[in-house]
C-alpha cells in the first residue's frame, strides 16, 4: 500500500465525497412520466450512496486492501482488518439493471465460458475481459473471499478470478443443512473461521482485534434488524413501497453490512416508510392484489413488471430474497461472535433444506396477507430454482395459495420472453381478482 494512494484515498473520502454526495442527491432534471404515487424521498440518497461507494472504490486500490466478496460471506471478518469490500454479484445486478447483462455475458462466452453458466458470473468475467462497467472502473482486488452458503457456483467462479488476478481466494465452506445444523458442521465452520483469521493476519500483517470484530458484528446485527423492520413495513395495507423499491435498497445490507453508513441509511428509510404507512400512502394506488416473490430479482425487467402489476392494482409485498438478510439475525451474538456468525451464515435460506423454504414461504404469505406467489425460475440460479415446481404444487394444492412460475434469468435479458411472461402474468393476476 503506497503512502500517495493512502493520502489520495483519504482526501477523496473526507473532502471530496461529501460534495459529491450532495451533487448526486440534487440530481439532474429528467422528463420522466410522473409515477402514480410519490417516489421515496430517499431514492436520491441511495443513488448518492451507490455512486460514492463505487467512486471511493477506485481510490481504494493501492491505499487500503481491497477484497471482492460473495453476498453470503461473513464480511465482518474482513472489516476487522480494514478491507474495502466490493460485491461482484451486486455489480452484476447493477450492470443487468442498466441492460448491459447480455452484452457483458457475450464477452465471457467469446472466451469459452458456456452460455449455460450463471449470468452474474459471466457478467463479472465479461467486465474483466472488456473493462466495461457502468461504474467507470472497478479496483483490482487483493483478495477474494467466498462462501458457498449461497451456491457452489461462487466457488467455481472465484477460482477463475483467483487465476485471472493472481490473488488468493479464501473459502468459508458451509455444509448444506439437509435436516438441521449438526454439531459436526458447526465445529467445522468454527474452526475454519479461526483459520481464516490467521490467514487474514498473515495477508494484512495485522493482528486480529476481537473488539473491532464484535463491534462490527453489533453494527451488522442492528443493520439486519432495521432491514427486517423495513421489510415488515410492507405488512401494512396498502403497502408503502413495492418490492422493486425494496430490491433497489438492498445494496447497503449486502455490500455495506457491518459499516455504520448502512445502519444510518436504513434508519432514514425506515423512518420514511413508517411515515408513509401512517399517512396511508400507497405505492400502488387502490392496491387490490398482494403477492410474494421467490428467487432473485429479474434486474433488467423491474420497471416493466412494476408497470404490469400497477395496471392490475397488484403489489409484491414480500420476497424470500430480501428476507434472506433478515432471517438469521437472531443467531448473531456479539458476545459469542465466532460461533454465532457460523450459525447465522450457514442457516441462510439457500443453505437450508427445501422444507424450510416451503415453511418460510407459507409463513411470509400469511404474515403479509398475500393472495398469490410469483416464483422466478432463474436459469442462472440452481439452488434457488430446483424445487420450485414441487413447492408451487404443494402451496397451491395443500395451502390453497395460487402460484405462477416465470421462467427467466436474473441478469441476462436474452433469456426473457416478454410476450409469454406478460400474457401469463396478466392471466394470473386476472384469476386472482
Amino acid at each position: 500500500m503506497s503512502m500517495w494512494a493512502r493520502m489520495r484515498y483519504k482526501a477523496v473520502k473526507d473532502l471530496f465525497l461529501p460534495f459529491f454526495v450532495r451533487y448526486v442527491q440534487k440530481g439532474k432534471k429528467r422528463s420522466v412520466k410522473r409515477p402514480p404515487s410519490p417516489p421515496l424521498r430517499i431514492n436520491k440518497t441511495l443513488k448518492a450512496l451507490i455512486a460514492s461507494h463505487y467512486l471511493l472504490a477506485r481510490y481504494a486500490e493501492g491505499a487500503v486492501p481491497v477484497a471482492w466478496v460473495t453476498s453470503g460471506a461473513p464480511v465482518e471478518l474482513l472489516r476487522a482488518f480494514g478491507y474495502y469490500t466490493l460485491y461482484p454479484e451486486n455489480h452484476s445486478a447493477l450492470c443487468a439493471a442498466q441492460k448491459m447483462g447480455g452484452s457483458l455475458c457475450s464477452f465471457a462466452e467469446e472466451k469459452g465460458y458456456s452460455q449455460d453458466l450463471c449470468s452474474y458470473a459471466k457478467i463479472d468475467l465479461g467486465v474483466h475481459y472488456s473493462r466495461k462497467t457502468p461504474v467507470g472502473r472497478l479496483p483490482k482486488p487483493d483478495l477474494l473471499f467466498a462462501s458457498n452458503n449461497i451456491c457452489q457456483t461462487v466457488l467455481y467462479w472465484y477460482k477463475v478470478l483467483s487465476k485471472a488476478y493472481s490473488i488468493p481466494l479464501i473459502l468459508f465452506d458451509t455444509p448444506y443443512n439437509y435436516q438441521s445444523l449438526r454439531p459436526e458442521d458447526l465445529s467445522y465452520m468454527v474452526s475454519q473461521i479461526h483459520e481464516i483469521i490467521h490467514q487474514l493476519e498473515r495477508l494484512t500483517k495485522k493482528d486480529f482485534d476481537p473488539e473491532i470484530f464484535s463491534k462490527t458484528l453489533e453494527i451488522s446485527k442492528s443493520t439486519c434488524e432495521t432491514w427486517k423492520d423495513i421489510l415488515y413495513c410492507m405488512q401494512a395495507t396498502p403497502a408503502p413501497a413495492t418490492i422493486f423499491d425494496i430490491f433497489s435498497h438492498m445494496l447497503p445490507v449486502v455490500s455495506l453490512r457491518g459499516l455504520p453508513v448502512a445502519l444510518r441509511y436504513y434508519n432514514l428509510l425506515l423512518h420514511e416508510l413508517r411515515e408513509r404507512v401512517e399517512k396511508k400512502i400507497a405505492a400502488v394506488p387502490n392496491e387490490r392484489i398482494r403477492l410474494l416473490w421467490d428467487n432473485i430479482a429479474i434486474w433488467y425487467k423491474m420497471r416493466d413488471l412494476s408497470n404490469i402489476l400497477m395496471q392490475h392494482k397488484a403489489n409484491i409485498v414480500a420476497a424470500t430474497y430480501t428476507n434472506a438478510w433478515a432471517e438469521t439475525i437472531p443467531y448473531m451474538d456479539p458476545h459469542n461472535p465466532i460461533e454465532s456468525i457460523a450459525k447465522a451464515y450457514s442457516l441462510v435460506v439457500l443453505n437450508n433444506n427445501l422444507k424450510h423454504r416451503l415453511n418460510l414461504i407459507y409463513t411470509l404469505a400469511k404474515e403479509f396477507k398475500v393472495h398469490g406467489i410469483l416464483m422466478h425460475s432463474a436459469r442462472s440460479c440452481k439452488p434457488y430454482s430446483v424445487g420450485q415446481y414441487d413447492m408451487a404444487r404443494i402451496l397451491s394444492s395443500q395451502y390453497n395459495i395460487p402460484c405462477l412460475i416465470i421462467e427467466a434469468d436474473i441478469a441476462d435479458e436474452r433469456y426473457y420472453s416478454d410476450e409469454q411472461n406478460r400474457t401469463r402474468l396478466e392471466a394470473f393476476l386476472e384469476s386472482l381478482t
Binding site: 465452506d173 455444509p175 467445522y188
Partner: protein, 360 residues
C-alpha cells in the same frame, strides 16, 4: 466375464445384501459395505427421463433428471437406502427434494464433500461426518462392522492398483481392449463389490484377447464419459482410452492409500485428502491443468477428450482455463457436450471425426 448390473443386484439381494442407491461423486464405499450394503451408483439407468419434468427445470442436467426418473420407476424398489453425495448445487437440492417432498419412501443418507484447500479442520470434519454416517446407519438398523470396513479397504486398495495397471497397459498397448469392452469393465466399478471388480480386472489383465487395432490414444475427461454411444463411436474409430480424468473413475481414486491401515477411518480420510483434482471439490485450476497434462505425458496420449454433461457448472467453469493450458503445451483437445442417456448428435460425430483427423 462382467456380470450385468440388474442380475448382479438381484443375485446380491438374494444373498442377503441390502442395496444402496448412490448419487454421483466420491463416497466412503467401504463403510456402506461394512454395513452389508451394496453401493450401486445411479449414473445412467435406462429410464424415461420425462418422468423428471414435473420436478426439474429444462436447464438442469440429465444426471439429476435420470436420478429422479429412476426413483419413480419400479426398479427403484430394489433399493433399500438412498445415499446422496453433495457435490454440486443441482444434486444438493435434488437430495432435499427427494427427502422433503416424498419423492422416495426409502431412508436417505447425505454426505457432504468438503472443499479444497484442505486444512486441519477438513481432517477433523471428515472424521466427524464418517462417524456420523456410521451412527446414521446404526439408527437404520444397519450396524457397521469395522472389521468388514477394514477388509473392504484392502479390496478397494487392490481395485486402485489394478485400475492403474490397466491404464498402464492401455497406454503401452498391452491390453488391446477397445472402448466398448473397456467401458463395460470400467462401468462395473459403479456396482460390483470390490472383490468381484478385482476378479474382472484380473481377467482383463491376464486373459483378455488382444484383438483391438489402435489408431489413436486419448485421455478421457468429464463427469461420466463411459456412455454407450461414445464408447461405440470410439471403438469404431480405433481409439484407445489411455488415461482417465473423469469423475466416474480416476477423480475418485486416491493417489496414496494403504492396504492394511491401523485405523480404517483415518485411512478413509487420508484417501479423501489425496484424491486427484476435481471441480466438485473446488480444486485449484492450475493443479487440475497440471494433473491432466501429466496424464497425457505419462500415457503417451495424443490428446484429451472432454465429455461434458450439459448444464454441468463445475465442469464448465474449468474448461476455458484447461483448454488454454493444454494449448500452451500443444496438446490437442476437444469438448463434446452431451446429455446422458441420449445418443451422440450428428454434430458431435462430425466434430469427433475432424478432431481425430487432426491427430494423424
Amino acid at each position: 466375464m462382467i456380470p450385468e448390473r440388474s442380475s448382479y443386484i438381484k443375485q446380491k439381494k438374494a444373498e442377503g445384501w441390502k442395496i444402496c442407491g448412490v448419487t454421483p461423486g466420491f463416497y466412503p464405499k467401504e463403510i456402506l459395505l461394512g454395513a452389508n450394503l451394496l453401493p450401486v451408483e445411479i449414473w445412467d439407468p435406462a429410464v424415461e427421463i420425462s418422468l423428471a419434468y414435473p420436478h426439474l427445470q429444462p436447464t438442469i442436467c440429465s444426471i439429476a433428471k435420470i436420478i429422479i426418473s429412476f426413483l419413480k420407476t419400479d426398479a427403484a424398489n430394489l433399493i433399500d437406502v438412498i445415499f446422496v453425495n453433495h457435490i454440486c448445487d443441482s444434486l444438493q437440492n435434488l437430495g432435499s427434494l427427494i427427502h422433503d417432498f416424498g419423492l422416495s419412501n426409502k431412508p436417505i443418507l447425505f454426505f457432504y464433500n468438503p472443499k479444497e484447500p484442505y486444512s486441519s479442520s477438513t481432517n477433523l470434519y471428515l472424521k466427524d461426518i464418517l462417524k456420523s454416517l456410521i451412527s446414521g446407519l446404526n439408527q437404520l438398523n444397519m450396524p457397521v462392522s469395522l472389521e468388514k470396513v477394514q477388509e473392504h479397504i484392502s479390496h478397494t486398495a487392490r481395485n486402485y492398483r489394478l485400475i492403474s495397471k490397466l491404464f498402464e497397459m492401455q497406454s503401452l498397448a498391452q491390453t488391446f481392449l477397445g472402448p466398448m469392452e473397456f467401458g463395460k469393465i470400467i462401468r462395473s466399478f459403479g456396482y460390483l463389490m470390490p472383490l468381484d471388480f478385482n476378479t474382472s480386472i484380473d481377467w482383463v489383465i491376464n486373459d483378455c484377447p488382444k484383438d483391438f487395432n489402435i489408431r489413436y490414444r486419448l485421455v478421457l475427461s468429464g463427469i461420466f464419459p463411459y456412455q454407450h454411444s461414445i464408447m461405440e463411436y470410439l471403438s469404431s474409430r480405433h481409439v484407445t482410452i489411455s488415461q482417465d480424468d473423469s469423475l466416474f473413475l480416476r477423480r475418485r481414486i486416491p493417489k496414496t492409500f494403504s492396504d492394511e491401515p491401523e485405523d480404517p477411518i483415518q485411512e478413509l480420510i487420508n484417501r479423501y485428502l489425496s484424491l486427484p483434482p476435481c471441480p466438485t471439490r473446488g480444486s485449484d485450476l492450475e493443479h487440475r491443468a497440471e494433473h491432466i497434462i501429466k496424464l497425457v505425458g505419462e500415457s503417451n496420449s495424443q490428446g484429451v477428450l472432454f465429455i461434458c454433461t450439459k448444464f454441468c457448472e463445475p465442469e464448465y467453469f474449468d474448461l476455458p482455463y484447461l483448454k488454454d493450458s493444454l494449448d500452451s503445451h500443444k496438446i490437442p483437445h476437444l469438448v463434446l457436450e452431451t446429455e446422458i442417456g441420449e445418443p451422440l448428435s450428428m454434430a458431435n460425430f462430425t466434430r469427433l471425426d475432424a478432431f481425430l483427423e487432426g491427430l494423424r
